[in-house]
Subunit: 505 residues, 2 copies
Amino acid sequence: MNRNLEILISDLRVIAQLRRVAAVLNWDQETYMPPKGAEARADQISLIMSMSHARFTGPEFRRSLAELVDLPSGKVLDGGLPPHQVRMLETTWWDWRRANALPVEFVGELVRLTSEAQNVWEQARHTSDFNLLAPYLEKIISMKREEADYLGYEDQPYDALLENYEPGMTTRELTALFESLRTPLVNLVERIRDTDTPDHREILAGDYDESDQWKFGMDVLYDMGYDLTRGRQDRSAHPFTTDFHPSDVRITTYLDRHDITQGIFSTIHEGGHALYQQALNDQYFGTPLCEPISLGIHESQSRLWENYVGHSRPFWTCYYPRLQERFTDQLGKVTLDEFYSAINMVTPSLIRVEADEVTYNLHIMLRFELEQAFINDHAAVNDLPALWNEGMEKYLGITPENDADGILQDIHWSMGGIGYFPTYILGNLYGRQFYEAANNQIDDLEDRIARGDLKTLREWLRENIHQVGRARTADELVQDVTGSPLSAEPFIDYLQAKYGELYTI
Amino acid sequence: MNRNLEILISDLRVIAQLRRVAAVLNWDQETYMPPKGAEARADQISLIMSMSHARFTGPEFRRSLAELVDLPSGKVLDGGLPPHQVRMLETTWWDWRRANALPVEFVGELVRLTSEAQNVWEQARHTSDFNLLAPYLEKIISMKREEADYLGYEDQPYDALLENYEPGMTTRELTALFESLRTPLVNLVERIRDTDTPDHREILAGDYDESDQWKFGMDVLYDMGYDLTRGRQDRSAHPFTTDFHPSDVRITTYLDRHDITQGIFSTIHEGGHALYQQALNDQYFGTPLCEPISLGIHESQSRLWENYVGHSRPFWTCYYPRLQERFTDQLGKVTLDEFYSAINMVTPSLIRVEADEVTYNLHIMLRFELEQAFINDHAAVNDLPALWNEGMEKYLGITPENDADGILQDIHWSMGGIGYFPTYILGNLYGRQFYEAANNQIDDLEDRIARGDLKTLREWLRENIHQVGRARTADELVQDVTGSPLSAEPFIDYLQAKYGELYTI
């Protein structure tokens, strides 16, 4: 490898290590930190993150990068480099340009603002008082518009924010995609509602011992191929996946004594994320080649496992008897069909994170619309609760009784996470396309799943998706793996087939 | 406060925060890290520690310090500063001078060498093969001699190393102290041995449920005043205390199903350390005023609680019934006197960490002699096992059958921790003097302990010792608190009285 590239990679590694150190601090904060340690911890995280940012945007890194890439254009200087190194440099430059676009004081101010706003959000949600949050949201929106201007965009400001999470994606492309999804989804939800099927989730009601829930989840993780010598599961208020290196990728889960589905599906969901991180090629650690492609691609892995495997009949053909064995009192008399149908109930509801796999997407579309409204079209913050409620009525036919169950339900905007929500739908779409490719390429995939052989799928994902890192863009990956560009069709077909059968419509 | 002082303190805070970040990484490594995360973790810790070192020894810090202190002499420039700020600057300068005395390459080489040596030590101990470790030990000793030369000393090289752990202490002073301790101890051990008392620890044999052991330990910690909103206990292979800020001070314990004393005393010991750290004045965080004075003073706090409280009759008068209640099957028929006598058995034994409070000191004296022999007198590494065995015979009348139970038992030297061992005896001596001062100053201290009132003692320690930080030296603190200089006499008197009664000699 040439000397300049070596220097650059070694710089990148230090920057990446600092970020991972902050991730350890954050993991501890969410799992084991005593409550009064919070203030000192915030200082530590902010110190480490600012050091990482300073290195990435500092003169030394600029010099290293300038030896290899034409800084104004991003063109790689050495035409003889192998393609993966060219891509590595292009992607590094892309990240670097965006990190440099934001003035340090701007970043600092946004961090302070959103950190305060998150506390205010908790209070606002608790008291269902949007007015508390409104002035903060107003400032955040205004700063995010400023951010979009700093970052630059061709078509509309929202594009720039979207790319924080989904490089290469545009508002226009997303709008078209969501358009194609909207009507079939709304129709499907209506047809399901018209069947007047009673809520049969109550057959799962019961008191489920948490340590037995834990063990069941660990068994599934093991079968999925989650390597516990290079990872671990803990509990936290909100489940998440974090990685310190491909050799240390951790997940958390949330268990509810009275709702067994919470723990199972959060474990499988985070397990899907974790398999991706564990399989990244650590030989390239620190560089984009050892990074996930985008949030949408990441979410495709969690959704694929949570929904296309974890909510499928083949999966429960194998695992339901095991679950029943652990919870004879609660599930002994519930048949596989009843269980399968209960975990796949479709019901319009107010809270996104509790939504089923059909209505979930409508929750996201609403947020996508609102984000465009306040970023691109300067919608007034005070109008947002009403816009929210109208959207809920339009998409789901229900209206929240208060803002706590409406516009105040998500922390994302208070964190400055604008442009984040659409990646959840993207995850569903990418995930479905990937799942079908796997199903085409693996002999008897669903029979295997029904036998508890989850590792064949995992291995396929590792080879085709996980280990690729940012050597490919999301577009390229979908094309490589599925032979087609991103499309909502496979997802729609899947939902129509699955729920057509379940609701006999 | 003057502007220069503000800048210096802000520099010190960043350096301190980096060290605490490394402490979080290390805590995780010892408690929850999956095994294969070790390599990436070592890289993270070394990155953060080298950043902290680079800042402390870098040109910016030098400039800040030079505004306040005459760098060659350490004299504080502004005569009008209040005494605690003067002391803060003097102590900062003292640390800075020592950190700067070591060339960066030297530090790096020593870190690499000792990190390798620790792995070799594990293997050497496992196979009881001193020859494996010898070449590493040889290099470590030679580098530590070099380190002493870099650091400088007035009398002998070992002084410089001692001050890594016990600022202000000299080999000469320690030698005199240990001289005064040696004969009374050896005599006491001999007189105890002559009583031919059978080993009555076996009455404690049994299978003790670990979660009940845990709960008992947590109850004691609570009574000691360990604040669990600013700390937590976990399990690890070797118990330790670590602090990330006075608001987040954590301990670990080690539980053994078949030996209940392990968990109890390691919990109380680490609890003693933790009370010190939690009570440091966080208004001065980052500066020496929010740091413990020395390892010896730190150990005085753990020993005071572990031995002078935790191994005392008043303590068990209160806690033994509670312990019996938890372990009726195992302890129901063991009387308080039998229990008290079993946990205070004195028996010469091979392993330091398993030694009782009398013979323990003799283990340390042996190490202190050997350290002087190889640092000051250039004793050959190959002669060390024989010197060890001779020393064991001289002090304890027993000889290890192999080096694993002899010279290979401790990790300290492989870590470069030469000069560390004496602080364990210092802890016993300081601790005894402090305990007696507390006993003089607190009405009915031991009656209080016998009622489970441990917080009065804790409060006294907080006020008189913990919150002082490095505003006082160890010498000054002992004088302030006890009215006398450091002396072995109170400790000897205590042992003679306690064991005279226990063994009726």
